[in-house]
């Protein structure tokens, strides 16, 4: 087996790192790679994370049912109570972390209907939220989003939201946070083999890249877990080709 990590391996570790320090909270990763990241975090440095089966059951790391959390409980109490960290996708994302998964174009008659705002407004006003973007491009990273689904820092400040906490964005090119001026997006690290300028070129707005590092490589133990335990069929490589 090769000891060289693929881009997908690096991404999974970066997604796992989102949960570092979270402790005993519900991790709600949307999509294959965020789910692999959350499970890797639980198997290594965040053993107390709670994870669901994607339906109504909470499963322990060994696959034992340890709780019940139907959609009703999720919306009535788990989200508003706040002990949750969601990783959502984004069709559009702007510099302050406003996210759109609702529709492209004019909401009254969209050019492209997407999912709808789903739980994004409630998630972003209640608990920590991160985003996963498998193809970092100017189409996703836009000047302004068409329908604010997940609330960004500018809108949260205007609305006086006490529990707003947009954490980080992981993409196929790098890791970003909101530590720039006025909570604007900043490149934390570019993945190995990616130049910060590449990330800038794939972003519509001016991106702060000064001081950006390189995303850490998976350890040998992490690589073994990803390859042998979490994703032996290498489904990750289809979502993020190297």
């Amino acid at each position: 087996m090769s000891h060289t990590a693929t881009r997908a391996d690096v991404v999974i570790v970066a997604l796992a790192e989102l949960f570092r320090g979270d402790g005993e909270v519900l991790a709600s990763p949307m999509g294959l790679l965020p789910a692999l990241g959350a499970r890797l975090a639980r198997l290594t440095f965040e053993p107390d994370l709670l994870l669901s089966d994607g339906e109504a059951f909470l499963l322990s790391a060994s696959g034992v049912v340890e709780g019940w959390q139907p959609f009703r409980r999720m919306l009535d109490t788990i989200v508003p109570h706040g002990r949750r960290h969601v990783v959502m996708g984004a069709n559009q994302l702007d510099r302050f972390g406003n996210q759109n998964i609702s529709a492209i174009g004019d909401h009254a008659r969209p050019v492209r209907q997407l999912l709808g705002v789903r739980g994004a407004p409630g998630n972003t006003v209640n608990h920590r939220t991160s985003y996963w973007v498998p193809r970092h491009s100017k189409r996703v990273f836009v000047e302004s989003v068409d329908v604010v689904s997940g609330v960004g820092y500018d809108n949260a400040a205007k609305a006086g939201l006490r529990f707003h906490d947009v954490h980080r964005v992981v993409t196929n090119l790098g890791v970003l946070d909101f530590s720039g001026p006025d909570h604007s997006m900043r490149l934390v690290s570019a993945h190995p083999g990616v130049a910060p300028s590449e990330v800038e070129d794939a972003t519509s707005f001016a991106l702060e890249t000064a001081g950006a590092g390189v995303t850490r490589e998976p350890s040998a133990a992490e690589l073994a877990l990803i390859r042998e335990v979490l994703d032996p069929k290498s489904s990750r490589e289809k979502e993020v080709p190297s």
Binding site: E55, A56, F57, W68, P70, F71, R72, L75, D76, V79, P80, N100, S102, A103, H107, A108, R109, P110, V111, R112, Q113, L114, L115, G116, V117, R118, G119, A120, P121, G122, T124, V125, N126, V147, V148, S149, G150, V151, N155, A156, K158, A159, G160, L161, R162, F163, H164
Partner: protein, 289 residues
């Protein structure tokens, strides 16, 4: 004499009139009252406001031109992200929408269930939901914190349609899968409530089939019971059956293609429920061959 609330899906559809607000239970492509939806497709009713955690129920009603407005937080087929007919209805401007956050949607039903004018929440604040629903108002906490919250107006329903696993003839209804969804809330928010089930059983059977907590609907919130085996097809009604993924893909591929759609309608939606199920069986056999 105890009430026997059994009726047919077509009798349920006949209870609807043009312009009504109809709540549909389930979630995405999960435990949708599809036999009742198919009965609506066969009926002349139109201009409905559909309130739904949307799945193929919304798509099929849009395809048949039954919908004036959709109240939703999402429309998805779960294993396939987008419903083509809902997308087409939105992109052509044919329907109006009230788009809410998922939590707001439940809050609106809860307010109606509790006969309150509104309930407060944070979900929606700061988001585009306020912009696309200019009628929404906020309310300030009367206590020392003074926090401004969103006042979600009650979403009352003329009719609620839900699908569960078992019920007795009086309307005590039971789910046997992992998730109740919001079906009891839909019924509490509605003036008239109809439940379809896989099987109508004696009341004594209900607590033999599952724990008492699985009795989701009380007969006091149910007006009609329809025995509709496979009545959630092609959505899931576990443990009775899972989602028919092959059929769902066929629905989506047909819905994407304006030439293929009439063929789908002709084969599956032009007869009654028995015709539908028999064509589905043939479709399944073709796949196995």
């Amino acid at each position: 004499m105890m009430a026997d609330k059994r009726m047919t899906a077509d009798e349920v559809a006949a209870e609807l009139s043009d312009g009504m607000t109809v709540g549909i239970g389930g979630w995405g492509s999960r435990r949708k009252p599809m036999a009742l939806v198919r009965a609506i497709l066969r009926s002349p009713v139109k201009d409905l406001t559909v309130v739904s955690y949307g799945g193929p129920d919304v798509g099929l009603l849009c395809a048949a031109g039954k919908v004036r407005r959709v109240v939703f937080g999402f429309v998805t087929l779960d294993s396939i992200p987008y419903d083509p007919w809902f997308g087409r209805a939105r992109e052509s401007g044919r329907i109006e929408v009230t788009e809410y956050d998922e939590g707001m949607f439940a809050t609106a039903l809860s307010a109606a269930a509790q006969r309150l004018p509104f309930l407060p929440t944070r979900a929606g604040l700061g988001s585009g939901v306020l912009k696309v629903n200019p009628g929404l108002r906020t309310v300030r906490s009367p206590y020392a914190d003074g926090e401004e919250l969103l006042a979600v107006p009650a979403q009352r329903l003329d009719v609620a349609l839900v699908h569960l696993n078992r019920a007795d003839a009086r309307g005590n209804a039971q789910y046997l899968g992992p998730d109740p969804y919001f079906d009891d809330l839909f019924c509490l928010a509605a003036a008239k409530r109809f439940v379809s089930v896989e099987q109508v059983v004696e009341t004594t059977e209900l607590t033999r089939l599952g724990p008492v907590q699985s009795l989701l609907l009380s007969r006091s919130t149910v007006d009609g019971v329809v025995e509709a085996p496979r009545g959630a097809h092609f959505t899931t009604a576990v443990p009775d059956y899972g989602r028919d993924e092959r059929f769902q893909r066929h629905y989506v591929n047909s819905a994407k293609d304006t030439d293929a759609w009439p063929v789908f309608v002709d084969r599956f939606l032009s007869g009654d429920e028995d015709d539908y199920l028999s064509e589905v069986d043939k479709f399944t056999q073709e796949g196995a061959a």
